[in-house]
Symmetry: C2
Subunit: 308 residues, 2 copies
């Protein structure tokens, strides 16, 4: 018979397309983990509690209404269309607020708290989920003063100073890449995978040097395929290079002359590291998953402390 898992608390990263949960021990060690495809994008409001119980129900042994399980969640679960809205905190502020939002549950064993996202009034910007990675990064690098870049569907550039988020800027580069490569005429020219380092490098420096030419560069991927046999893998790398080049042009005030740390998936971060290196920036790279857990641990600690 398997020994029952009896965590101290549970950490949950609940995004748009997936959900992951970790059974946490008293000293921050992971006793077990679970994952589900019940992301925020697929759930109605009343679907969250059953989806959570499906994942973590086996870890609730011995819990009751007197001694419920503390469950700390971050991500889109706290969006307006999620389980319950966890109102944004306005920067400048620390990445984590001690005021987590309690989600309504019918099962008395559950004490679910949701980490709020961050907002910036002007230029208007929002994040939800990334703040937890940022908190994890700061927990592990308390003296960091510089810029975090979190590449992804909506890449975040975040200015950090004295443990606070000073300002941030979103570039929807991954989202644009998917929309353009999947739903414009370039779907005929850009492969689903494959890569070409030289094409990426050339497009990146072109996109960064002449961001005003972006609109003229895109259709050329189609035309060069038709006229000169540009391979679809090269077109894919060039599209990525043009879009990341445009992003770097737009976010220059964030990275120019700064200490930059990249947080996220390996392949994508490698492309950003290459791009920044060409601009003389040596970016430190950190795995995002570990930082999400470190941030959830930091959020859990905050909920145990008296608020000031």
């Amino acid at each position: 018979m398997t020994k029952a898992i009896t965590p101290e608390w549970i950490a949950v990263d609940w995004g748009t397309t997936h959900c992951r949960a970790w059974a946490m021990g008293a000293d921050g060690e992971i006793l077990a983990d679970a994952r589900s495809s019940a992301g925020m994008g697929t759930l109605e409001r009343e679907g969250y509690e059953p989806a959570l119980l499906d994942m973590v129900g086996a870890w609730l042994g011995g819990r009751d209404g007197e001694n419920p399980m503390r469950i700390i969640c971050c991500g889109m679960v706290g969006a307006r269309q999620g389980w319950i809205e966890a109102a944004y905190c306005a920067v400048p502020c620390p990445p984590l607020s001690p005021d987590l939002t309690r989600a309504p549950t019918t099962d008395a064993r559950l004490d679910v708290r949701i980490v709020p996202g961050l907002k910036q009034q002007k230029p208007a910007d929002v994040m939800r989920g990334e703040e937890t990675q940022i908190a994890g990064f700061i927990a592990l690098n308390p003296n960091f003063d510089g810029v975090l870049c979190q590449p992804g569907t909506h890449t975040k550039w975040v200015h950090i100073s004295a443990g606070e988020v000073v300002s941030f800027q979103t570039a929807m580069t991954g989202d644009l890449f998917a929309a353009i490569s999947g739903h414009s005429v370039l779907r005929h020219s850009v492969s689903v995978d494959g890569w070409d380092d030289d094409a990426f490098d050339a497009a990146l420096s072109d996109g960064l040097a002449k961001p005003e030419s972006l609109a003229a560069r895109l259709f050329a991927l189609r035309a060069e395929g038709l006229l000169h046999g540009l391979p679809n893998a090269s077109a894919r790398a060039r599209l990525s290079g043009l879009l990341i080049g445009a992003e770097l042009a737009a976010t220059r005030p964030y990275w120019l002359g700064q200490q930059v740390a990249l947080i996220g998936a390996d392949t994508l971060c490698a492309h950003y590291a290459t791009a920044l290196a060409a601009q003389g920036i040596t970016a430190k790279r950190t795995d995002g998953d570990a930082l999400t857990r470190a941030g959830l641990i930091a959020a859990h600690s905050l909920t145990k402390e008296p608020t000031t």
Copy 2:
């Protein structure tokens, strides 16, 4: 009983999503017209002849293999994935070549000729269909020296001199607008219709003045909706303004200080006219459909002349 329609020849505009045909009299007058949704995007190679007969079969009375009906087609019907590839002509050249490509038919009453598109080796670019509108424009404005702008899914900027296409540049602005507004996170923020002139004007001048900021401006449409209640119709106009602004930044060598004529649909051309007017360019506007027919008439005339 209705009098039978017996045209001299038939003009056909056969695009990706639709097909239109006109029964033409001896003096260029339109005797009848027909349309179909059997666009190039929906047809296999063997489907073109039946689709054409569905539209124009009633106009073939008295024709036979000795005296077939001349049918002049322009558009994507001549693409590699169309009925038969009509190889591109390389600019600089007149918009129409006398060497039309004959499509294979089994019905001896049909003599189908397809107008070739234009290509530019460097920067690589192609057009197919627009060359016929350009020919129509030049037929009606033989002394025009300047730039044509044909806004649409793939907007063309075309430098015309001495009756020839000197060079051209495609900006896939309409395609980008559809992909971004329909298939990125902005689908939640950008309405399907509605408009806001002030939002368009401000975004346009912002996009044109700071094209390097485009990547930073897009996600703000989402964030301003969430934080400041930006209406979806305003977000739609701003997205359009940002993209047309980026296009104008990329095509500045085409329009700056030039005589510009806009060809195309009314609403879209009005937006471009507004944009160009803000840059001190008064663009002449012409209806695209009339020019397509004028261009097909010019192409028909060429097929009657001995080639040199």
